[in-house]
């Protein structure tokens, strides 16, 4: 099943936090470029977990505009999207978590600890 998300192109208001994410990435990249004495980022590795609450499409949509004339303008993006995984706090079963409200497939409990899928990280920068 394909789901089409319709965002307002003008205000993008429901997805606007992707802009904050992009700006935070840029600030970190600028700092690292300056610290290393380089001039631009060649490659950036990002982890955006499936349950991180960030729309990859929205992030990509604003990336170009956001990174124009910056150290990230020409950077190649390596995007990791760790899938959701949780451990049931009742029976200890480890299971794939597609939605935050999924229950344990074995005992049905909603009490769980999320092990992965919430990542929102800059893993690596290659600076030239």
């Amino acid at each position: 099943m394909s789901v089409y998300r319709i965002n307002c192109i003008v205000c993008k208001i429901e997805k606007m936090h992707e802009l904050s994410i992009a700006t935070s990435i840029l600030k970190t990249a600028e700092r690292e470029v300056e610290n290393s004495g380089g001039h631009a980022v060649k490659e950036i590795t990002l982890s955006v977990g499936k349950l991180a609450g960030v729309e990859i499409d929205s992030l990509k949509f604003i990336w170009g505009a956001c990174m124009k004339h910056t150290v990230l303008e020409k950077a190649e993006i390596v995007l990791l999207e760790p899938k959701g995984k949780a451990v049931c706090m009742e029976c200890g079963t480890v299971f794939a978590l597609e939605k935050l409200y999924d229950s344990c497939p074995k005992c049905g409990s909603y009490f769980k600890e999320i092990m992965s899928g919430k990542e929102l990280k800059i893993n690596k920068l290659i600076i030239m």
Binding site: S24, E34, Y110
Partner: protein, 269 residues
């Protein structure tokens, strides 16, 4: 441009204003909301002679919202040291955040010291409403930003100067998506959902319910007029977050507000 002092800035800049005074702070375009490049107006000479390898690989492994998190923890430390209970109120627009806040402030003032931070994209209307009740209020206008962040709160705290053993209520921008990602340093995140919204709201916007400790179900005085299944809403919210604590309130009639006040005052101790 700022209409108060004429200070320049782009139209999207954040402005923080203290009600009842002319004090205000500009949150300029180095904020996380603003798209821009950093132009360095100075060169960085390398005084020592050393060889640069052409490519540096930096294994950063850093959270993207690392800076917000750091400032949030600083705010949290400030609150803990002064025993300030900070509550971050989040909801969709129109869920009754401001009315709930106004009623809470009116009923609790005199019993507890209260201060309020209001977040909206535009206007000072909400902070003015609160200021009329005699409680100090700060308005943060986020411009085009759709959420408050910990830096805005940190800057507001310097203007607001909240007292020890007090209650600080923050009304976030009406938006059930983005504010979920930004820790402000609060002790309690309370998501408000009104009975005029759908019972499946927690499933549609799980991040906010997952990151909250409290769920306030508002406008319960309207229940007799609606086909709304309160238990279904609660069950859906508990699927997302089994640890949620519920309050069913009507800020209009005052029904259920007592439990909410007891919860707040007990937390301050």
């Amino acid at each position: 441009m700022c209409t108060t002092c004429g200070c320049g800035g782009d139209g999207n800049g954040v402005v923080i204003k203290k009600m009842g005074t002319d004090e205000h702070v500009h949150y300029h375009s180095d904020g996380t909301q603003t798209v821009h490049s950093h132009k360095h107006g100075h060169a960085h000479p390398h005084e020592k002679n050393h060889e640069h390898s052409p490519v540096h690989e930096i294994n950063l492994e850093q959270d993207i919202l690392h800076k917000n998190q750091l400032t949030a923890e600083r705010n949290r430390g400030f609150f803990e040291a002064l025993n300030i209970l900070c509550v971050n109120l989040v909801s969709s627009p129109g869920s009754g955040k401001t009315t709930l806040l106004e009623r809470t402030v009116t009923d609790l003032k005199g019993k507890v010291e209260i201060a309020v931070i209001e977040g909206d994209q535009q206007t000072s209307n909400d902070a003015e409403r609160i200021n009329k009740t005699g409680v100090p209020a700060i308005q943060i206008n986020t411009g085009k930003g759709c959420h408050l962040d910990s830096e805005m709160v940190s800057k507001s705290l310097r203007l607001l100067n909240p007292k020890p053993n007090s209650l600080l209520l923050i009304e976030n921008v009406g938006n059930l998506v983005c504010p979920a990602m930004f820790d402000l340093g609060e002790k309690i995140r309370a998501v408000i959902v009104s009975v005029t919204e759908g019972e499946d709201k927690p499933l549609k916007y799980p991040d906010m319910f997952h990151s909250s400790q409290v769920c306030i179900i508002s406008k319960t005085d309207l229940l007799p007029h609606l086909k709304f299944d309160l238990e279904s809403l609660k069950n859906n919210a508990l699927k997302v977050n089994p640890n949620l604590q519920f309050f069913e309130v009507s800020a209009e009639s005052g029904q259920g507000m007592g439990d909410w006040y007891k919860f707040l005052t007990n937390k301050i101790g």
